[in-house]
C-alpha cells in the first residue's frame, strides 16, 4: 500500500516498540506531528527546549536501557540538539534523533531554517543519515535503531527532508538489517577470557575497575555475582557507580580526580588492574605514567578503539561486557581449586584496601552557618533509598558520587564524558517517564539548574512527582574551587550573586552581598510546582519527606549550602592519582593547575 513517509515513520516507531517520543514541532516537522496525532501507540512529550529534549530522551534511555527517541524540526531545532546529542554519545547512550529538513531541491540554497545537520553532527554521533529518497526511508530507520542500540550504543541522527516525508511510497518496514561495514564483536574471545581468569587468580593484588559498560542490569547483576566468589576489591568510575551496590563488601568507591583515597591508592599499588567497560578517561587516570604503573592491565570493552588508547593494555578482550562476564563466571566454575588457593592472598589484600578505606574515609564536613551538602546527600539517600538520582555537573555531582548510596544499576544518571551542565532536570524527567513506579531525585547546583530550568513546565504538565534539589552556594562552585586552590582566590566570573555595583574584584562572600536572582521557590511556584527553601539542618528531612508525599507534581527544594565548601579528595588536574589533596589546607602542588 502506498503511504506517505510520515505514515511509515509512525509505523516504524511502533514496530521498534517506542513508547515515548520527545518532540518539538516546527515548519518542516509538521507532517510528522500530524501522523503522531493520529496514532495512539507512541506518547508525545513536548519539552520546552531542544537541548533539554535530548537530555530527556537520554535520561529515559539511561534509566531503562531502551532507545531514546527524539524529533525536532530543521535549522534551529536541529542545532539546539547538538549539546544533548554529544552528551549522550559520549556516555554511550542509545538515541535516535529525527530532524526535519528543507526539501531536497532546496538544500544548499540557504533556505529558511536550513542547516547542514549531517555536517554539524558528524563528529558527535555514532552515525547519521540523510534520507534522500523515499524508497530508503524504512531501511534507514531500521538501521538507525539497530546501530544506536547494538555494539557500543550511541546516537544516530536521521535527517528527513520534507519532500521525502510527504511522498507516497511503500509501507513495508524491514524486519532485518544488513550493514556490511558494521559488525560489532559481541562475544569475547574464549581463550583470552581464560587467560584473563588465570591472571586474575595468579595475581597477588588484583583490582576490578568497572565503568559505564557494566552499569546495566545484565552486566551489573552478573558481575556482582562474580565478585561474590572472589575476594577482589571493586573500584568504579563515575559512570560505573551503582553497577555493584555501594554497600557490597568488596566495593571500595570511585577513583580519579575526586575519587576516594582507598580507590586511588589501590589502583596505584595493585599488580593486576582488571578493567571492564571503561575508557580510562583522563579524569580517572590523572597523569598516565603514574597510573597503575606496577600492574598488568586486562581490559574488556565492546569498542576496540577504547583498547590501548589512553593506557597500554596487556590483555585485551573485545566483547559485550555482559557476555564476557557470563563466560568468565562459567570458566571460573572450573577453577574452584585455584580460587581457593588464591583466597588467603586475596583476602589479605582486600583487607588492606578496606583498611585504607576505613582509615581515610570521605568525610562529611560540618557546616558553620548554612548546610553541609554532604549531609543533605546522605539524607536524600536515606529517605529515597531506591530512587534514581540525576545530577548536573560540578561540585554537587562529585558529592553525590561520593556520598550517595546507590544499590542498583542505572540508578545514577550523570553526564560523565562531556560534563554537561543543565543535564540534571531534563534527564530526571526522562527517567521518571520511563520509570513511573520509581522515585526520581534530581540534584543540581544553582548554576546548572538555570541552564534548563524551563523544563519545570514539562515536569508540571506531565504530572511528575520529581524531587528537585537545588544546592545553592551562589557560586559556580567547581570553577570557584579551582580558583580558590590554584588561582589565588581570584573569583573571576563565578559569583552568581554579583551585580552592578559590586567591587571590581571580590572574593569575600558575606551576608551583605546583593540578593540572589532568581528566587527559586517563587520560580517553582510560578510553574505550578511546590517550592521550599531549607537553611537549617533540622529542616532537611522534613522538606524531603514533604516532597515524598507529592504524587502529581514536582517539588523544588532549594538547599542553602555553605558558600565556599570544596570537594575532597582532589587530584590536581594532570597530577598523579596518588598525590591527593585530602582536605582543606593541603597545599596544591606547583604546576598542578591545568585543565
Amino acid at each position: 500500500m502506498a503511504v506517505t513517509g510520515a505514515r511509515l515513520f509512525t509505523k516504524a516507531l511502533a514496530a521498534e516498540g517506542v513508547e515515548i517520543i520527545f518532540a518539538y514541532p516546527g515548519g518542516y516537522a509538521i507532517q510528522l506531528f500530524d501522523e503522531l496525532y493520529k496514532q495512539s501507540e507512541v506518547k508525545l512529550v513536548l519539552p520546552r527546549h531542544e537541548q533539554a529534549l535530548v537530555h530527556e530522551a537520554d535520561g529515559y534511555a539511561r534509566s531503562t536501557g531502551k532507545v531514546g527517541v527524539c524529533l525536532v524540526t530543521s535549522g534551529p531545532g536541529a542545532t539546539n540538539t547538538v549539546t544533548g546529542l554529544a552528551t549522550a554519545n559520549f556516555d554511550s547512550v542509545p538515541i535516535v534523533c529525527f530532524t526535519g529538513q528543507v526539501p531536497i531541491q532546496q538544500i544548499g540554497n540557504d533556505a529558511f531554517q536550513e542547516a547542514d545537520v549531517i555536517g554539524i553532527t558528524n563528529s558527535i554521533v555514532k552515525h547519521n543519515f540523510i534520507v534522500s529518497e523515499r524508497k530508503d526511508l524504512g531501511r534507514i530507520i531500521k538501521e538507525a535503531f539497530h546501530i544506536a542500540r547494538s555494539g557500543r550504543p550511541g546516537v544516530v541522527v536521521v535527517d528527513l527532508p520534507v519532500n521525502v516525508v510527504k511522498e507516497l511510497g511503500d509501507d513495508t518496514y524491514p524486519a532485518q538489517v544488513k550493514i556490511r561495514g558494521y559488525k560489532p564483536n559481541e562475544k569475547g574471545h574464549k581463550y583470552q577470557i581464560r587467560k584473563a581468569c588465570d591472571e586474575l587468580l595468579a595475581a597477588k593484588k588484583p583490582v576490578f575497575l568497572i565503568g559505564g559498560g557494566v552499569n546495566n542490569n545484565e552486566a551489573g547483576g552478573s558481575f556482582t555475582e562474580l565478585v561474590a566468589v572472589l575476594n577482589v576489591p571493586v573500584i568504579s568510575s563515575l559512570l560505573g557507580i551503582g553497577a555493584v551496590p555501594c554497600d557490597n563488601e568488596n566495593y571500595v568507591g570511585m577513583l580519579g580526580m575526586h575519587g576516594c583515597f582507598a580507590a586511588n591508592k589501590a589502583v596505584c599499588d595493585c599488580d593486576l588492574l582488571f578493567a571492564i567497560g571503561t575508557r580510562f578517561n583522563d579524569r580517572i587516570t590523572g597523569q598516565v605514567d603514574g597510573f597503575a604503573k606496577n600492574a598488568r592491565i586486562v581490559h574488556i570493552d565492546i569498542d576496540p578503539a577504547a583498547i590501548s588508547r589512553n593506557i597500554t593494555v596487556d590483555l585485551p578482550i573485545v566483547g559485550d561486557t555482559a557476555n564476557v562476564i557470563q563466560e568468565m563466571r562459567r570458566q571460573l566454575e572450573e577453577l574452584t581449586e585455584k580460587i581457593n588457593e588464591a583466597a588467603p592472598v586475596h583476602k589479605e589484600w582486600l583487607g588492606q584496601v578496606m583498611k585504607w578505606k576505613e582509615e581515610n574515609p570521605i568525610v562529611v564536613v560540618e557546616s558553620k552557618k548554612l548546610l553541609s551538602p554532604m549531609k543533605v546527600i546522605r539524607q536524600i539517600s536515606d529517605i529515597f533509598p531506591d530512587a534514581i538520582i540525576t545530577t548536573d555537573v560540578g561540585q554537587h555531582q562529585m558529592w553525590t558520587a561520593q556520598f550517595g548510596m546507590f544499590r542498583s544499576p542505572r540508578s545514577l544518571l550523570t553526564s560523565g564524558g562531556l560534563g554537561t551542565m543543565g543535564f540534571g532536570l531534563p534527564s530526571a524527567i526522562g527517567a521518571q517517564l520511563g520509570n513511573p513506579e520509581k522515585r526520581v531525585v534530581n540534584i543540581s547546583g544553582d548554576g546548572g539548574f538555570q541552564m534548563n530550568s524551563q523544563e519545570l513546565a514539562t515536569a508540571v504538565v506531565e504530572g511528575l512527582p520529581l524531587v528537585i534539589c537545588v544546592f545553592n552556594n551562589n557560586y559556580l562552585g567547581m570553577v570557584r574551587q579551582w580558583q580558590g586552590l590554584f588561582y589565588d582566590k581570584r573569583y573571576s566570573g563565578t559569583c552568581l550573586r554579583r551585580r552592578k555595583g559590586c567591587p571590581l574584584r571580590c572574593n569575600w562572600p558575606d551576608e551583605n552581598c546583593p540578593e540572589y536572582s532568581p528566587n527559586f521557590v517563587k520560580l517553582a511556584e510560578a510553574y505550578g510546582a511546590a517550592g521550599l527553601r531549607v537553611m537549617k539542618d533540622e529542616d532537611i528531612a522534613p522538606a524531603l519527606l514533604r516532597a515524598k508525599e507529592e504524587t502529581g507534581r514536582p517539588t523544588l527544594i532549594e538547599f542553602m549550602i555553605e558558600r565556599e565548601f570544596n570537594v575532597f579528595p582532589m587530584v590536581p588536574s594532570g597530577g598523579n592519582i596518588s598525590d591527593m589533596l585530602l582536605e582543606e589546607g593541603m597545599a596544591a602542588k606547583e604546576g598542578g593547575a591545568q585543565a
Partner: protein
C-alpha cells in the same frame, strides 16, 4: 613513519567528509588522500598516506573501522603493494634549454604532453619518491604549476 591505508567504503555522498573530518577532528596527520569508484559501483576506494607513530596509527585504523560506512580497512604499509602517483608539472623554459628537459624526461620515463612558446608540460606516473626527485630536479628551472593526484595503492598479486 609514513603509512599507507587502503579503505573500501560505501559510495555515498558524505563518506569523504566523515573520513577527512575524523582526521581533522582528532588531529591525525594526513599527507594525501585519493578517492575513486571501484569495479563495484556501490563501493569506492580511498587511499590515505599518513605519517604517524605506531600508537597513533593503531588508533587511526580503529577509528576508521568504527565508521559505519567503512567496509574494510587494509594497512598496506608492510604489505607488498604497488603505490603510484601522477603529477603534471609545467615549467617555463627558454627554447635553448628544451633539450635538458627532454633528457630528464627520458631518465624519468615521463611524457612531455604539451609544449608552448616558452613552457613545457610534463606528466609523470611513478612512485612517490621518484615524483619528488623529478620535481626537485626541475626546480633548477622555473616551475610554474604542479598538480599531483595523490597516491593510489593496491596490494600486489599473489605469486
Amino acid at each position: 613513519m609514513i603509512r599507507t591505508i587502503s579503505l573500501l567504503v560505501e559510495n555515498n555522498p558524505g563518506v569523504l567528509a566523515r573520513i577527512s573530518g575524523l582526521f581533522s577532528g582528532k588531529f591525525y596527520n594526513m599527507e594525501s588522500l585519493t578517492v575513486g569508484v571501484t569495479n563495484d559501483p556501490t563501493v569506492s576506494r580511498i587511499t590515505i598516506i599518513c605519517d604517524n607513530t605506531d600508537k597513533e596509527f593503531e588508533q587511526v585504523k580503529k577509528q576508521l573501522n568504527r565508521l559505519v560506512d567503512v567496509i574494510k580497512v587494509t594497512d598496506l604499509s608492510n604489505l607488498k603493494s604497488i603505490k603510484k602517483e601522477l603529477a603534471l608539472i609545467k615549467v617555463s623554459i627558454k627554447k635553448e634549454h628544451r633539450g635538458d628537459i627532454f633528457n630528464l624526461a627520458a631518465v624519468y620515463h615521463c611524457d612531455i604532453i604539451d609544449v608552448g612558446g616558452n613552457s613545457m608540460l610534463l606528466q609523470i606516473c611513478d612512485k612517490y619518491d621518484r615524483v619528488n626527485d623529478l620535481i626537485r630536479l626541475l626546480s633548477d628551472y622555473n616551475i610554474v604549476e604542479i598538480a599531483r593526484s595523490g597516491i593510489v595503492a593496491m596490494e600486489g598479486c599473489a605469486k
